[in-house]
C-alpha cells in the first residue's frame, strides 16, 4: 500500500508539474537559507495575491474565451475603491484607536473593493462584451481581446481624468507590532494579505469543485454546447464568471493597497505577472494557476534579490517565452486546449 503511494509520488515527480513544483519549493527554501527568510515571506505574499488575479484571468479565458488585457485595471479599481473606503475609516480609527473598527475596517475596505470590482465586471459585460457577442462571434478571440485592450486604455485614462495621476496610498491597514513566526518578523498587513489570499483562493476552489454553480462554470468552459444541452443558462454563467473574475482581481488590489498605492497604471504589473502565470500553468486550470502564481512570484522575488530591481521585467519574461516555445500548453495544462495553432 505505502509502496504504491511512493511509486505514485515518484511518477508525479517525473511529470512536468511535479518536477517544477518540487524545484520551486527547493529553490525557495535554498534562497531563504542563503539570504534570509524575508524572501520566502515576500514570495508567499506576492504569490497569494497573484493567485487571485491569475485565477480570475484563467477563468475569463476558459469560460468566456476572452483573453483579458484589462484585468489589471480591475486590480486598479479594487485598490482605488479600498483607498476611498479606507481613508475615512482610518481617520475614524485615528480618533478612536480602541474601537473594533480598527480590526474590521480594512476588511470593509476589501469587501468594498470586491463588490465594486464585481459590479464593474458586470457593467463591462453588459456594455462591452455583450454587444459584441450579440453582433457577431466570428473571430471572437481576437476581437474581444482588442476590446479588452480598449477597455484597459479607457479605465486607465478615466482614472487619470477623474482621480488624477498621483499616488493614492495608505500607511497601513492594521497597526501594531509585526507578527513574529520563528524569528521572522512579518508586518501585520503582509500576514493578513496572505491570510486573505489563502481564504479567498480556497473558498473559490471549493466553490468551483464542489458546488453546482461552480461545476456549471467549469462545464461551460469545457464544452459550451454540452452545457446548453444539460440545461445550463449560459448568459447567467457568463455574468457570474465575469463578476467573480473581476472581484478576485479587485480584492487583490484592495488588500495590497499598503504595498501598491493606487495610480492609473498600477494594474500593468499584476496583469503581466498574471499572464505569465496563465501561460505557465496552462488554460482553465485553477489549482495550476495557484501553483503557477507562487512560481512566478518566486521568480520575481529571486530576480529582484540576486540580479537587481527592474530586471524582473526581463528575466521572467525571457523564461516564460522559453516555456511558450518548448511547452506551449503550459506545465499543468492538458493538451485538450493548448496554445498551439490548430
Amino acid at each position: 500500500m505505502s509502496n504504491n503511494i511512493v511509486s505514485k509520488f515518484l511518477n508525479w515527480m517525473k511529470s512536468a508539474a511535479g518536477f517544477s513544483i518540487t524545484a520551486t519549493i527547493v529553490i525557495a527554501v535554498l534562497a531563504s537559507i542563503a539570504s534570509g527568510p524575508y524572501l520566502l515571506v515576500n514570495t508567499i505574499v506576492t504569490g497569494g495575491m497573484l493567485a487571485l488575479v491569475a485565477t480570475g484571468l484563467t477563468l475569463m479565458l476558459g469560460v468566456l474565451n476572452i483573453a483579458m488585457f484589462a484585468h489589471g485595471e480591475f486590480f486598479m479599481i479594487g485598490s482605488l475603491t479600498a483607498y476611498y473606503v479606507f481613508t475615512p475609516i482610518s481617520n475614524y480609527i485615528g480618533e478612536n484607536p480602541e474601537s473594533f473598527i480598527a480590526v474590521i475596517g480594512p476588511l470593509i475596505a476589501m469587501a468594498g473593493a470586491a463588490i465594486v470590482g464585481a459590479i464593474s465586471g458586470i457593467v463591462a459585460e453588459k456594455l462591452v462584451f455583450g454587444p459584441l457577442r450579440k453582433r457577431s462571434t466570428d473571430n471572437w478571440v481576437m476581437n474581444s481581446f482588442l476590446l479588452t485592450v480598449g477597455l484597459s486604455m479607457l479605465l486607465i485614462n478615466l482614472h487619470q481624468l477623474i482621480f488624477g495621476a498621483d499616488f493614492k496610498g495608505i500607511v497601513g491597514y492594521w497597526t501594531g507590532m509585526p507578527v513574529s513566526i520563528a524569528d521572522v518578523f512579518i508586518s501585520r498587513d503582509r500576514a493578513m494579505a496572505f491570510v486573505i489570499a489563502v481564504i479567498v483562493v480556497s473558498l473559490f476552489w471549493f466553490f468551483m469543485t464542489y458546488t453546482r454553480t461552480g461545476m456549471a462554470i467549469r462545464a461551460v468552459s469545457q464544452d459550451i454546447t454540452g452545457a446548453q444541452i444539460v440545461g445550463i443558462d449560459i448568459e447567467k454563467i457568463v455574468l457570474l464568471t465575469i463578476s467573480l473574475a473581476c472581484a478576485l482581481s479587485a480584492v487583490a488590489g484592495g488588500s495590497l493597497l499598503f504595498m501598491y498605492p493606487s495610480y492609473p497604471t498600477v494594474g500593468l504589473e499584476p496583469l503581466y505577472l498574471a499572464w505569465f502565470v496563465v501561460i505557465l500553468s496552462g488554460l482553465g486550470n485553477i489549482l495550476g494557476a495557484v501553483a503557477g502564481a507562487f512560481m512566478v512570484a518566486l521568480l520575481k522575488v529571486i530576480t529582484v534579490e540576486y540580479i537587481g530591481a527592474g530586471w524582473d521585467f526581463v528575466v521572467p519574461s525571457a523564461l516564460i517565452m522559453l516555456i511558450l516555445i518548448f511547452k506551449p500548453s503550459g506545465i499543468f495544462g492538458s493538451d485538450v486546449r493548448g496554445a498551439l495553432d490548430k
Partner: protein, 341 residues
Amino acid sequence: MDNTITSQQMNPFDKLLDKLCLTPVGLLGLVLLFALPYIPPFNQEYMLRWLIYCGFIAAMSVGFDLTAGYISIVNFGYAAVSGFGGYTSALLVINMGLSPWLAMAAGGITAGFMGLIIGMISLRLRGIFAACLSWFFGLAIMGLATKMVWLTRGPLGLRTPRLFETDSNAPFYFLMVILLFLIYLACKLIVRSKMGLAFQAIGQNMDAARASGINPVYYRVFNFTVSCAIAGILGGFYAHFYGILTPDVMHTSKTVEVLAVAYIGGRGSLWGGAVIAFPFIFIMEIVRSTLSNLPGLNLVIYSLVLILVMIYYPGGFSYFYDTHIRKPKNKVLRYFLNGRK
C-alpha cells in the same frame, strides 16, 4: 479579366498610378500632405510637429497592419521593436559616429532581425498566444533598455543628434511623408504579389494553407521580418527627430496607440490606418493641448472610439469606404475614387 489588355489600354498616367498603388484620390491626398505645411494654420511649427507625429503613427500602423491584417497576428511588441531600432540607430551615431541616415537603415535591419526571431519563436502558436509572446518579448526588450543604463542612460533619456541641422520642422515633415508613402508602397507591393495571397491564406486557415502547398514558416517569418524592419526604420526616424530617446517609446501603450489607429482605419487595408491617423491623431493632439487641465481626456476618447468601432463596425473606416463611398454612379467620380482598373 485579362490584365495585359487593360494595361495596354491604360494611358501612361494611369499606368504610373497603378505602379505606385495609388488611386487618383490617393494621389490627391498625397499632394495635399505635401502642400499642408504651406497652408495656414498648418504652417506653424507646433502644428507641424503634431503632423509629423500623425505621420509617424500612420506609418507605424501601415507596418503593423501587414501582420495584423494579413496573417491575423497582433504583434503586441511592435512599439518595443520600433524602439529597439531607434536605440540601435541612436547608439550607432553616438558611439560609432555613423551618419544618422545610415544608422536609420541599420536600425531597420536590426529590428528586422528581431522580427525574424519573434516570427520564428511564435511560429507554432495560436493567434492570441503569439500576441502574448511578442508582448513578453517587447516587455523584455523594454526592461533591458531601462536597465542597461551604461549604454542607454535608461529613463534619463539618450540625447541623439537630429537628422537635419535646423530648427525648422518642415524637412522632417517632408521626410516623414516620403517615408510613409514608401512604406505603404513596399507593403502594398508585397501584398499585391503572390505573397499577399499566401499571407491571407495563412491568416484565415493555417492548416488549409499548409495543405495547399504554402509553407507557413517562410511566409510568417518573412512577414514579421518586413513589418518589424519598418518599425525599426521609423524608430530611427523618431530618435533622430525628437533628439531624445527614453524607454517609454517601447511601452505597451504606444503599441496600443498604433493598434487603435490601424483597427479604426480598417484591418487588412494598409491605407486605412494611414488615412485615419492624420485627422484622428491631430484632433487628439488638439484636445490634449487645449484641454490640458483634463489630462487623459484625449486617450479616453481614443479608447472609446476603439471600443465602439470594434463592437459596431469591426471593418473600420476602409470597410465603410469600400461599401458606401467607393461605388458612385457618376463615371468621373468613380474613376477618381478607383483609378482605371
